[in-house]
């Protein structure tokens, strides 16, 4: 427990003041986060149809008002904790507004009601409630009620409303008016009793067990769940069919229908959030078995209820499991969720206790008014932090659903979609045996995204790749087919040489569905070999001789190729099978061998399996022909194209590089071996060879774009695939290179690529989608049970269509693991990619990463690409990769790897990123690399990225003065053993709402600017909070207490009370001379336009006493100049009344109020001229300065700090001068039992009868010190030379006497 909360319990409240109940305290903090937020206004209206007896209504209302004393509560922000009191003067009354002459009375009433509900309430002043009866016509009335949630909850409003109906009906029929409400005090008493009750201990114990190992709580949208000023609402009436099915199903399962409905909605939410478990907030009335059951007050609690995945169980069994849990939670439902959040350390930042709210109100019936038809309409029911599903039943047949959402997290369309989808989910769920059988997508979404989006049917000639190649060879024999290092083969030459080799292969056993391996570096021979293999009827198997021998031998022994085209040493295990180019036949002797058909294999490419065992993917002609023909036609390839071949043959991207040119009689330009990793070499080839089309793996594209000579390159098209292409890469591409950029996606198992997206210069998608299916291809995003998912939900990506591989060579087991029957189309197959993806609303697919590498930190799905974009956008680094690492179990962190110049300062980079991504996406560590590691295929080698030395980043010491200050405050307030680091989180270190308030006050004192409680909740981390404070620093120095001198913490501080202008800055000289003591300046609350004027000088002094006590505990020393002296005396009186020890009370040329009562009231000009005095000038010496501009101009010229004040602050000073005058005139001194030390301006007051002895009757004694100056000069550097030593001398005497 912090020292503040310890104080709280022992503190005596002023009379009539009471502590808030636990329920209220939670809401109070919510309101403190943003005082101007009206969302806690609970409001509704009752539609009364029929002839209303207005007088009886008024009477009934008045009687209810007598009983419901909570309606006249006011709330106060005391020095230590909030308090409340019943203040009959703020009791509301019934306003009656006649709208009968309006054109549209109903809508006029609605407008007025909505405007009123949107207005924040002044909790201190009250009234906190409002009631209006709108007369729409003779027989139609709206009765509007609006009450702040601190005073009442939803059930309380029902009580109040029904009570008016009850009394009205009784008065009408002349019967008794029923039982009156119990007083509000009963709720308070019960709340206090519970605090020390054994039951509370047991409840806490229950929740500790219940919420043990709670996973990160998520909801249907990511982001910070803090209520906005308003919410979105979608209202739907559920059909009677749904309601009766719900009731019947509940009966069958032997649970109540509200519990069944809650469980079904939770299942929907859990599945939408794509998590194993969801924690829903379930509102709990908290009145059963309570003495306060019939007290209008706020008792409602929100219970965090865990809903695990039970979708695989029969619905009835699952319902019982959840109903039992709900019942158990309700039994312990009095324990406050706010307290739970503190218990679990779930305060501030992104932390939350529950995601969506599910609120079922089975008996939501309108009040009864004798002789009237009544309908109830809810306008505002409290904060909507995230999303709330409310169901209102009339206990008979109908059920209404309201989906309320936080506009910061959900769009209007999202809210509509959830409403529609949830209803269709409920409809299906109520008929299903298991929820696992119910798709999350609605029938419309199913149609749209499963079928319409995949309507890719396109006629493609059913031929082999060989046939297409031979057509070109025969049609364009003289066209250049292949270019390599200055050599060119025409199609005729390619025809001749490949046919010759083919015949030789046939003799060695090649033929349909047989394999011939190729182990050649990029060369003309490689191309001839591939063409020859296909023409022999066989399929080719590319081998990379740089791979480990063991891997090669495994591949060869499983694939059993008939021949290996390559040098002998390429794989010496199979020496006999080798056929090096030197032994290739140059002319064909026969051509009459069996040819392949479209369902024979074209190639087999081995990929790494997750088990480490290489898997041979078998692709048939029909599949690759579809892929190549789609590409040729979709991108309009033609004879003029020159396509660069630079991808290793073992990577399936090379397939289109090799063969696409032969389908459009274009030219294949083969890059020299190893050139594919050399950006400079690639750039040179593109220029020298007039390349029109080439491919990059995105990380290679980044490296390429970092090459200076790339700028200004022009190509027709660049294709990317193999890993995620980011939005940043797209944008950089278009800045540097002229040409189209296309993002393709596909696993080896589906003939190279199955989806495409044009990453054009005008595309602004982020993340960049993998796009749409190619011809005759289907893309499905499905859940674990193979049901379609709606847009936005992460699921497994499945592929279907003609391009699917036949399977894995010799591994039927692995094939059946990955290839299944299509659940939606009989006789088709689908392939499970193992990639996670989600649909966009337009049907484009967004890749989310490998299913085994899904990035989720603190429950939030994080788009690492987005962070990469932010890093690259800083312009500070050349390349960046962001990944989530878990180097220590359970400690997942985002790490950024950057390639940058050695002069890069990571802090600068961090600042730049923080402007673009939310704090939860900020990398925990940055690692510099000379270059990003890549695999032999040119893909980023994630496994080669080193683990960061986290301690360095996590342990950064607080550096800026503001960070250092915050670190000190964290340490003090949280009683830490050592100073926390700059990345420390206030709430993680044990902070709670109470200590946050304390932190807030201390920051205000130390910096003079008020961060607001909200800022601490939003930025609980030191470095973030420091940044937020810097940004918000505009009103600096106008807080109610500022630190003028840090001083030594062991010395008693001196409090300097502001003069008439309200600011204490003028005491800077004095503060510096006060011998290293801590010095605080007390400033007027009137400086802030929002603050109400204090009612009296005595009240002001009392508030100052609160403030002073908060900052010091010991002997109090007070000094004040002018009006500040009057205040110092009054504060001293107040402190003595509180039995607090008072030391020095020094007045700097102050005279009692009686001297001023007769003076004329100052006007604004006089107030402005007072600024001159405040700045240390004699106003009489400057009679010419009468306008605001002239005075400000003079002060600016003079260099006075006042001249630099912003307008709002100047206005505050003027307000303070006027206000202080009013207070002084109305003040009558009480006696201070001690000595006043009076510093007299000896050169002043010559013709006025102002002497220190005027104070004699208001104290035990006056001693006078003469200072040779005028009144306005009392705080000047010269005067301070006299005053400061005198003060210090007296303090020493007081302390030596041990007056404490």
């Amino acid at each position: 427990m912090t020292s503040l909360s310890a104080n709280l319990i022992g503190s005596a409240m002023p009379s009539g003041e009471q502590l808030l109940t636990e329920a209220q305290a939670g809401l109070w903090y919510v309101q403190q986060i943003d005082l101007s937020n009206p969302i806690l206004n609970a409001s509704q209206y009752v539609e009364l149809a029929g002839v209303l007896d207005v007088d009886l209504f008024r009477q009934a209302f008045a009687q209810m008002l007598e009983e419901a004393d909570c309606l006249s509560l006011t709330f106060h922000n005391g020095a230590f904790c909030p308090s409340q009191r019943l203040d009959a003067s703020t009791r509301p009354f019934l306003e009656i507004l006649d709208l009968r002459s309006e054109a549209d009375p109903a809508s006029a009433a609605l407008t007025l009601m909505q405007a009123d509900t949107a207005r924040p309430v002044d909790l201190g002043k009250g009234p906190i409630s409002r009631f209006t009866l709108f007369r729409l016509s003779e027989d139609r009335h709206y009765w509007y009620e609006r009450i702040h949630h601190l005073a009442i909850d939803g059930y309380g409003i029902v009580l109040v409303t029904n009570r008016v109906g009850e009394i009205y009906s009784a008065l009408k029929s002349g019967t008794g008016t029923g039982t009156p409400f119990a007083p509000f005090a009963q709720a308070i008493d019960e709340g206090v009793a519970y605090l020390s009750d054994d039951r509370r201990r047991r409840d806490a114990e229950f929740w500790r067990n219940e919420l043990a190992s709670l996973p990160e709580v998520v909801s249907l949208a990511g982001g910070r769940a803090v209520s906005e000023h308003s919410f979105r609402r979608e209202t739907r009436h559920l059909s009677t069919d749904i309601f009766s099915a719900l009731v019947a199903r509940a009966e069958r399962a032997k649970v109540t229908w509200p519990d069944l409905l809650t469980a079904l909605v939770a299942s929907y939410c859990r599945r939408y959030a794509a998590t194993a478990e969801i924690v829903a907030g379930v509102p709990h009335m908290g009145r059963l078995g309570s003495k306060a059951a019939r007290v209008p007050c706020t008792l409602m609690n929100v219970l965090p209820v865990r809903f695990e995945n039970t979708d695989y169980l029969p619905v009835d069994d699952a319902a019982v499991i959840h109903a039992k849990r709900l019942m158990a939670c309700r039994r312990h439902g009095r324990y406050r969720s706010e307290q739970l959040r503190r218990d679990l350390g779930l305060i501030g930042g992104q932390r939350r206790l529950f995601g969506p709210l599910i609120n079922v109100q089975p008996f939501d019936m309108p009040p009864k008014f004798d002789g009237l038809d009544v309908a109830l309409h809810i306008l505002g029911a409290g904060a909507v932090d995230d999303i709330t599903f409310t169901f209102r039943g009339d206990a008979k047949t109908s059920l209404m659903m309201e989906v309320d959402s936080n506009p910061a997290l959900y769009s209007e369309q999202d809210t509509k979609d959830h409403s529609a989808r949830l209803i269709s989910y409920l409809e299906s769920a109520l008929q299903a045996e298991r929820l696992a059988d119910v798709p999350l997508a609605s029938p419309n979404e199913r149609q749209r995204y499963l079928f319409d989006a995949n309507a890719t049917g396109h006629a493609v000639e059913d031929v082999t790749l060989v046939e297409l190649i031979e057509r070109t060879m025969h049609t364009y024999p003289d066209a250049p087919a292949v270019v390599f290092e200055g050599q060119t083969l025409t199609y005729a030459e390619l025809d001749r040489r490949s046919l010759a080799l083919a015949s030789q292969l046939v003799e060695r056993g090649a033929g349909p569905d047989r394999l011939v391996a190729v182990a050649l570096p990029r060369s003309l021979e490689l191309i001839i070999a591939l063409f020859a293999i296909l023409r022999s009827g066989a399929a080719y198997l590319p081998l990379d001789v740089s791979h480990p021998k063991e891997r090669l031998s495994r591949i060869l022994s499983s694939a059993q190729p008939v021949v290996i085209l390559g040098e002998k040493n390429s794989a010496d295990l199979f020496e006999d099978a080798h056929l090096p180019p030197s032994r290739w036949r140059q002319g064909a002797q026969r051509t009459d061998w069996p040819v392949s058909s479209p369902d024979n294999l074209a190639y087999v490419i081995y990929t790494s399996g997750s088990t480490g065992e290489p898997k041979g993917v078998m692709i048939e002609h029909r599949a690759i022909v579809n892929r190549l023909e789609w590409m040729r036609q979709h991108y309009s390839f033609g004879q003029q194209d020159r396509i660069l071949q630079k991808t290793p043959a073992t990577f399936d991207v090379s397939v289109w590089e090799f063969f696409l040119p032969a389908l459009c009689s274009a030219t294949l330009v083969v890059a020299p071996p190893e050139a594919h990793r050399d950006p400079l070499a690639i750039a040179r080839i593109i220029r020298d060879e007039n390349i029109t089309t080439l491919h990059f793996v995105p990380s290679m594209l980044s490296a390429f774009m970092a090459e200076p000579s790339v700028e200004g390159l022009a190509v027709s098209r660049v294709f990317c695939s193999g890993e995620e292409l980011t939005a940043e890469q797209r944008d950089r591409f278009h800045r540097l290179i002229k040409g189209e950029l296309h993002n393709l996606y596909g696993p080896t198992e589906a003939a190279v690529d199955v989806s495409y997206w044009e990453a054009s210069a005008s595309d602004s998608s982020s993340p960049l989608p993998i796009g749409w299916p190619v011809w005759n291809t289907k893309l499905y995003v499905l859940d674990d049970h193979l049901h379609p998912l709606p847009p936005g939900v992460a699921g497994h990506l499945y592929l279907g269509g003609v391009q699917l591989a036949r399977g894995y060579l010799g591994r039927d087991d692995l094939t059946s693991d990955r290839f299944f029957p299509d659940p939606f189309i009989d006789g088709h197959r689908i392939y499970k990619t193992g990639d996670m993806a989600k649909l966009r609303a337009d049907g484009a697919i967004v890749y989310l990463g490998r299913s085994d590498h899904q990035v989720k930190i603190r429950g939030l799905r994080i788009e690492l690409g987005e962070i990469e974009v932010a890093i690259m956008a800083s312009g500070l680094v050349r390349e960046a990769v962001v990944m989530a690492r878990e180097d220590r179990p359970g400690d997942k962190r985002i790490v950024a790897y950057v390639v940058a110049s050695p002069s890069l300062v990571i802090e600068t980079l961090r600042d730049s990123i923080s402007k673009k991504v939310p704090d939860y996406m900020m990398p925990a560590a940055f690692v510099r690399l000379d270059a990003l590691p890549v695999t032999s295929n040119g893909k980023l080698d994630r496994r080669a990225l080193p683990a960061p030395v986290i301690e360095m980043a996590a342990g950064r010491r607080a550096s800026s003065p503001l960070e250092q200050l915050l670190a000190t405050l964290f340490k003090e307030i949280l009683e830490l053993d050592s100073e926390p680091t700059a990345e420390s989180d206030f709430f993680s270190l044990g902070g709670d709402s109470l200590s946050a308030v304390q932190l807030c006050l201390r920051i205000r004192t130390e910096t003079g600017s008020d961060p607001g409680l909200g800022a601490i909740f939003e930025h609980p981390v030191i470095c973030d909070l420091a940044k937020a404070l810097e940004k918000a620093g505009s009103d600096e120095g106008l807080g109610p207490i500022i630190r003028l001198q840090r001083g030594h913490p062991n010395l008693a501080p001196i409090f300097l009370i502001h003069p008439a202008g309200g600011i204490a800055w003028g005491y800077r000289h004095l503060a510096q001379q006060l011998g290293g003591r801590p010095v605080f300046g007390i400033q007027s609350p009137t400086l802030s336009a929002a603050a109400p004027s204090p009612e009296s000088l005595e009240a002001l002094a009392s508030a100052y006493a609160d403030l002073i006590c908060l900052h010091h505990d010991g002997v109090y020393h007070l000094v004040g100049w002018s009006v500040g002296g009057i205040l110092a005396q009054a504060i001293a009186v107040e402190l003595q009344r509180r039995q607090q020890p008072v030391g020095l009370v020094a007045l700097l040329d102050s005279y009692p109020c009686d001297c001023w009562r007769a003076e004329p009231e100052p006007d604004e000009t006089a107030a402005l001229r007072a600024l001159l005095a405040i700045a240390g000038h004699d106003p009489l010496a400057h009679p010419e300065l009468v306008s605001k501009d002239a005075i400000i101009g003079f002060l600016k010229q003079d260099g006075s700090s006042l001249g630099g004040l912003p307008d709002a602050a100047l206005d505050g000073v003027i307000r303070s001068v006027l206000d202080t005058n009013r207070l002084v005139r109305g003040h009558y001194h009480k006696r201070f039992d001690g000595t006043l030390t009076h510093f007299r301006a000896a050169l002043d007051h010559k013709d006025k009868n102002l002497t220190p002895t005027l104070w004699a009757t208001f104290c035990a004694g006056v001693e006078t010190v003469d200072v040779t100056c005028l009144h306005p000069q009392m705080t000047s550097a010269n005067a301070v030379h006299t005053i400061a030593p005198e003060i210090l001398f007296r303090l020493t005497v007081i302390e030596q006497k041990g007056l404490a």
């Binding site: 009580l159 039982t179 032997k254 109540t256 229908w257 509200p258 519990d259 009335m285 009145r287 059963l288 078995g289 309570s290 003495k291 059951a293 019939r294 019942m327 309700r330 039994r331 089975p362 008996f363 206990a395």
Partner: protein, 78 residues
Amino acid sequence: MTITLEKMRADVAAIIHEDPSEIGFDDNLMDLGLDSMRLMNLILTWQEAGVDLDFGEFAEEFTLSGWWRAIEAKRANA
């Protein structure tokens, strides 16, 4: 049909799937699993049988004997 304490106990027992003898007159019914939904259903039945108490009055003391006292008091005042 007039309401009796035994009848109330039987109704409560039925709605929480317990045997009436298992329910003590001073047992906290919340601990036995009676929730607001079930209570409201009971109240609707009992109101039809002439009991003039509302939800809040039932909620204040959550035992059968407490309810019975409230009903008796109401009858005495009527």
